[in-house]
């Protein structure tokens, strides 16, 4: 007897017991759908976040005035509680270290922007004329501030798309005036939306020269210095040079993050999270498998007489075994296929709420795992069936 005969016999048996077959499959369906959906969410979120970080630019080094790597416990460590940078520190880096495309001291602070009776709470993000080298936002219209405006502390601003939309709905803001913290500014440009629902609204920002921001916010503190290396290969070298350069003044309270490190860290966290989700979903798949085994054991008992008849007319151990294993595998694989379809459908349905991405490895793994579950949990009942004594089986009522 060949495999096709076994498959036909198995499907005939499953078809004869439709309700039971479907209920048995349900366990696997839910398990596989959960794996597909949760991995799709995990991967989607991971892709979304890393995409945003990559969007900020490559070759970048973020210099923080704090010991962020040495554990949170030490003095000056943990957050930005240490001595802040000054603009001079950025100038020092630019003067003393070679092979840098841009060194941008960034000053940030909250502010309220107004135009007529419209207003919005927003964040000022101020830098120097090289800011377009290190910020991801693309200009939708107008221009960035230039070197002379930085030098003069001119009252010019660029608007993030949220701010532009809020203050100038349906209008071109370039050349218009707005009020920030009671002072008047001229809008010289506005940016395209960047998205970023998960990492805070990157579009609710106002860009201006750091000199202007210093005066407006009344601070000289630079929260972070962003450095762009000319050569991506030299990112680690530049990182070490900056740390050494700033050590005399700041001691250990300097941390340089490269883009790569940030990405690797996030990827690790999110990857672990994704695997955890897949693992939890995998447990439900396992439970589904046990359901298959349970039903197959019942089925073998119920069909003892059938097995006896088949053996009497010449079925060998292998024939009975393959018939029952194929039944179990057919249940689990059909459940797997339906589960993949449902999981994919679910991922597509919630894509507007949470970013999802269906990965081929999750589909392949869920499918293979479902098949393996069928074989693993089908073999024991099938073995029991194949071992039945034909005389006893024929006598069974």
């Amino acid at each position: 007897m060949n495999v096709f005969e076994s498959i036909r016999i198995a499907f005939r048996a499953l078809n004869a017991n439709k309700a039971r077959s479907i209920l048995t499959m349900l366990g696997v369906i839910i398990g596989v759908a959960a794996v597909i959906l949760l991995v799709a969410i995990g991967t989607g979120v991971q892709g979304d976040i890393t995409g945003q970080i990559e969007g900020i630019g490559s070759n970048l080094l973020f210099v923080f005035p704090a010991d962020l790597e040495g554990g949170g416990g030490g003095p000056g460590g943990g957050g930005f509680g240490g001595t802040a940078f000054a603009v001079e520190d950025a100038a020092l880096i630019e003067r003393r270290i070679e092979g840098l495309d841009a060194v941008v001291p960034v000053i940030e602070g909250p502010a309220t922007a107004e135009r007529g009776n419209r207003s919005i709470k927003t964040v000022i993000s101020a830098g120097n004329e090289d800011v377009d080298e290190v910020f991801a936002a693309e200009l939708a219209g107008g221009r960035n501030y230039n070197a002379s405006e930085v030098q003069a502390g001119a009252r010019v601003v660029g608007l993030g798309s949220t701010v532009a939309e809020e203050l100038f709905p349906g209008q071109d803001p370039v050349g218009e005036e707005i009020t920030i913290e009671g002072q008047r500014f001229v809008v010289i440009g506005h940016t395209e939306p960047q998205g970023g629902a998960l990492t805070g609204d990157q579009d609710n920002q106002i860009y201006m020269p750091y000199t202007t921001a210093q005066r407006l916010l009344g601070t000289r503190d630079v929260g972070i210095i962003i450095v762009k290396a000319s050569d991506p290969e030299e990112v680690d070298l530049k990182s070490a040079q900056i740390t050494r350069l700033l050590r005399p003044k700041f001691g250990d309270n300097v941390t340089v993050f490269s883009q790569e490190q940030t990405l690797a860290l996030l990827s690790t966290i999110l990857g672990t999270l994704t695997f955890m989700l897949a693992g939890i979903a995998g447990i439900s798949l396992l439970v589904g498998g046990i359901g298959i085994m349970n039903i197959m054991l019942v089925s073998v008992t119920e069909r003892t007489r059938e097995i006896g008849i088949r053996k009497a007319v010449g079925a060998r151990t292998y024939d009975i075994m393959s018939q029952f294993v194929i039944e179990a595998v057919a249940l689990s694989v059909a459940g797997g296929v339906i589960g993949i379809a449902l999981g994919a459908l679910g991922a597509w349905a919630i894509d507007s709420l949470v970013p999802t991405q269906i990965t081929w490895w999750a589909v392949a793994m869920a499918f293979l795992f479902a098949g393996a579950v069928g074989i693993f949990f089908g073999v024991y009942p099938a073995w029991r069936a194949s071992r039945l004594d034909p005389i006893e089986a024929l006598r069974y009522e």
């Binding site: 060949n2 005939r12 008849i309 009497a312 007319v313 010449g314 151990t317 024939d319 005389i391 024929l394």
Partner: protein, 268 residues
């Protein structure tokens, strides 16, 4: 220390049931079967010598406990003897593995059971195809042979019917078709009329006599004297051995019995 290894205590000398003419299809030589139930050993057969000849119709008779079911299981190759030899054709099947026995059953034996033993939820045609599935006959050839077998038992218009849609007599005829379809050496019928009314029983015996008329060896296991008298030879068992062998002088012919029945009795 298993009691089944001990030489069985044989009361009286066994009779050899070897009185048939022609080629021997199946022979048992001093066959014993003992079931070891731990505390006690049941000697179901205690040295049986039996020859089944090509083309004959043989009845194996005996009261319950006589060992006739055990002998049927051994002849049908559903089981192997504790001692002694069973020769089918020219092959010794006494020590074959379960899988080899299954292949031999498939090739040499066609079973007809008291309770029909058809697969429910399976059409008559597929039921008859069943042995052919396991002998590797495929596709159109398989269904053609099954149709031919059903035609031979007069059920060519019931191919798609399920067992539950057939009368007892018809179900037993499907079972006979299933027994025939592999062209076995022996059709082995275990109380074939036990679950049937008189007329259907006669019909089944008619069919079995018809098979013999076409050269097929038929063995009927029964405790019913009337059924046994339809055969050419009767072998009687008691307490695990053959006590008597008889050539039937006034054999019953099922076809005549059917004609003698009143139309009321033969309502079918």
């Amino acid at each position: 220390m298993s009691g089944c290894d001990d030489t069985p205590d044989i009361p009286g000398s066994p009779v050899e049931a070897t009185g048939c003419g022609g080629d021997v299809v199946l022979e048992t030589i001093d066959v014993s079967k003992c079931y070891d139930l731990g505390e006690i050993q049941v000697h179901a057969l205690r040295g049986v010598d039996l020859r089944i000849c090509d083309g004959e119709m043989l009845a194996i008779m005996g009261p319950s406990g006589s060992g006739k079911s055990t002998l049927m299981h051994l002849i049908g190759m559903l089981d192997t003897p504790t001692s002694g030899r069973i020769i089918v054709g020219d092959q010794d099947v006494s020590d074959l593995s379960p899988n080899r026995l299954a292949a031999m059953r498939n090739k040499e034996i066609g079973f007809v059971f008291q309770s029909f033993n058809l697969l429910a939820r399976t059409s008559a045609l597929v039921n008859v195809e069943l042995p052919l599935i396991y002998s590797g006959v495929t596709g159109g050839k398989r269904s053609q042979r099954a149709k031919d077998a059903l035609e031979r038992v007069g059920l060519e218009h019931r191919l798609g019917h399920y067992p539950s849609q057939l009368s007892g007599g018809q179900q037993q005829r499907v079972a006979i078709a299933r027994a025939l379809v592999t062209e076995p050496s022996i059709v082995l019928a275990d109380e074939p009329t036990g679950n049937l009314d008189t007329y259907s029983g006669i019909e089944v015996m008619m069919m079995l006599q018809d098979l013999q008329a076409h050269g097929i060896t038929v063995v009927v296991v029964t405790h019913d004297e009337d059924i046994a008298r339809h055969c050419e030879r009767i072998v009687r068992l008691r307490d695990g051995h053959v006590i008597d062998e008889e050539i039937v002088a006034d054999r019953l012919i099922a076809e005549q019995e059917a004609q003698e029945m009143t139309p009321e009795e033969a309502w079918e």
